[in-house]
Each structure stands twice: as structure tokens, then as C-alpha cells.
């Protein structure tokens, strides 16, 4: 089973290990690191059709949405 971690830069092994430590279920997956500069920072974890979006771009989108609602 494969899991994808999308980041803004190439993650080091220690960083991937830290992520795997935090998300213990990733131990059962073959982790691949993909680079996408569009996320600006943070990461997106994709596994078995599910997505954990911890990127700066999604936070910015949510912030923008909140601003629209307030305005």
C-alpha cells in the first residue's frame, strides 16, 4: 500500500520519520514524497483515497473564506 506526502521541498529521512511517528498508521504504507511548490509550506498526506491537508495553501484558502464570510 502506498501513501504520498506532498511537500514544498524534498523532505529528509528524519523529517519523514517524524511524520511517520506522528501518523502511526503510515508505518503500514510505502511512503512517497512528492514536491509541489503550490502548497507554499506544510504538507499533504494522501493514503487510501483519504487526504490530510496540512498545507499553508489550504490554510490560506480557509482564511480567505472566513474573511469573505465576515465581510
Amino acid at each position: 500500500m502506498k501513501a504520498e506526502i506532498i511537500s514544498n521541498y524534498k523532505l529528509s529521512e528524519s523529517e519523514i520519520q517524524e511524520i511517520t511517528k506522528k501518523f502511526k498508521f503510515l508505518k503500514d504504507y510505502d511512503v512517497i514524497n512528492t514536491i509541489d511548490t503550490a502548497i507554499y509550506g506544510g504538507m499533504i498526506i494522501k493514503y487510501q483515497g483519504k487526504v490530510i491537508d496540512l498545507s499553508l495553501s489550504s490554510r490560506l484558502k480557509n482564511f480567505k473564506k472566513t474573511l469573505y464570510e465576515i465581510a
Partner: protein
């Protein structure tokens, strides 16, 4: 008589002549002439009577014309007065209606201005939001160094709480 130079026979003849002349004149000239004259007098009288009748009728007609003119003038004056009154009422109604319409237009205009003002405000705010987010994205692209990104990732992992595990 003969010594006076008057002949009796001549005198008798003259008298007879005169009598005959008188008789003929009276019968054939005077009478018709008198009839003619009386006829003419009658005609004159008739003419005068007709003239006076005509004059009388003329006066009556003038009097009735004057009366008719007076009544027509009176009716015309009344009609003019009524028209003026009606026009005044109509004018008042028109002015009131125009005023009401103008007030409605002004009120609609004000509402429209308010709506447009709110729309413009919202559009302006949306543009400000768009511009701000674009600026933040540009800042992220340009000024986030690799070290800063590593720190961000560490922070995200530290603060992330889930029940996925």
C-alpha cells in the same frame, strides 16, 4: 240781349256744349280719374301700413336678437367660468400626482443608491481580500526559506491533534 252783343242761340249752344262737356268729363274722365286717385291713395296707405309693419317687425327682430345675444353671452361666461374652475381642479390634481411621482422616483433612487453602495462596498472588500491573499501567496513564494519551512512543518506536526492513530 242782342244790344249787349250776346247771342242767345250761341249762349244756349255754349251752355249745351258746356253741359255736354261737363257730362262727358264727369262720366268719362273725372270719375275714372277720381277712382284712380282713390286707388292710388289706398295703395299709398297700404304701402305705409306695410312699411310700418315691416319697421315694427324689424324692431322686434332686433330686440329678439339682442336678447339672444345677451343669453348666449351669459351662457358663454358661465361655460368659461366652469372651464376655469375645472382647469384649476385638474391642475391641482396634476401637480399633486406629479409631486407624488417625483417623491416615489426620489425614494426609489435613494434605495437604488443604497443598494449600489452596499454592492460596491462588498466588491471593494472582496477585492481587498483577493489582493491581500495574493500578496501573502507572493510573500510565501518569495520569502519562506527552507529553514523556515522546516520550522513550519515541525510546528504543524507539534500542534496537530488527531484520532487517526
Amino acid at each position: 240781349m242782342e244790344s249787349l252783343g250776346i247771342e242767345v242761340k250761341l249762349l244756349v249752344a255754349q251752355i249745351i256744349n258746356f253741359g255736354l262737356f261737363f257730362f262727358i268729363f264727369k262720366k268719362f274722365i273725372a270719375k275714372p280719374f277720381a277712382n284712380f286717385m282713390s286707388e292710388e291713395a289706398k295703395k299709398e296707405q297700404l304701402k305705409e301700413k306695410m312699411l310700418s309693419d315691416l319697421k315694427k317687425k324689424d324692431e322686434e327682430m332686433i330686440a329678439s336678437q339682442n336678447k339672444l345675444k345677451a343669453s348666449l353671452k351669459k351662457e358663454l361666461d358661465m361655460a368659461i367660468k366652469k372651464s376655469k374652475e375645472d382647469a384649476s381642479v385638474y391642475k391641482t390634481t396634476l401637480v399633486a400626482e406629479a409631486k407624488k411621482e417625483a417623491e416615489e422616483i426620489i425614494s426609489k433612487g435613494k434605495k437604488q443608491i443604497e443598494i449600489e453602495k452596499k454592492t460596491s462596498e462588498k466588491e471593494f472588500k472582496n477585492r481587498v481580500i483577493e489582493l491581500s491573499t495574493v500578496m501573502v501567496e507572493k510573500a510565501f513564494s518569495k520569502f519562506l526559506s527552507k529553514d523556515t519551512q522546516k520550522d513550519i512543518n515541525k510546528n504543524i506536526l507539534k500542534n496537530f491533534e488527531s484520532n487517526l492513530n
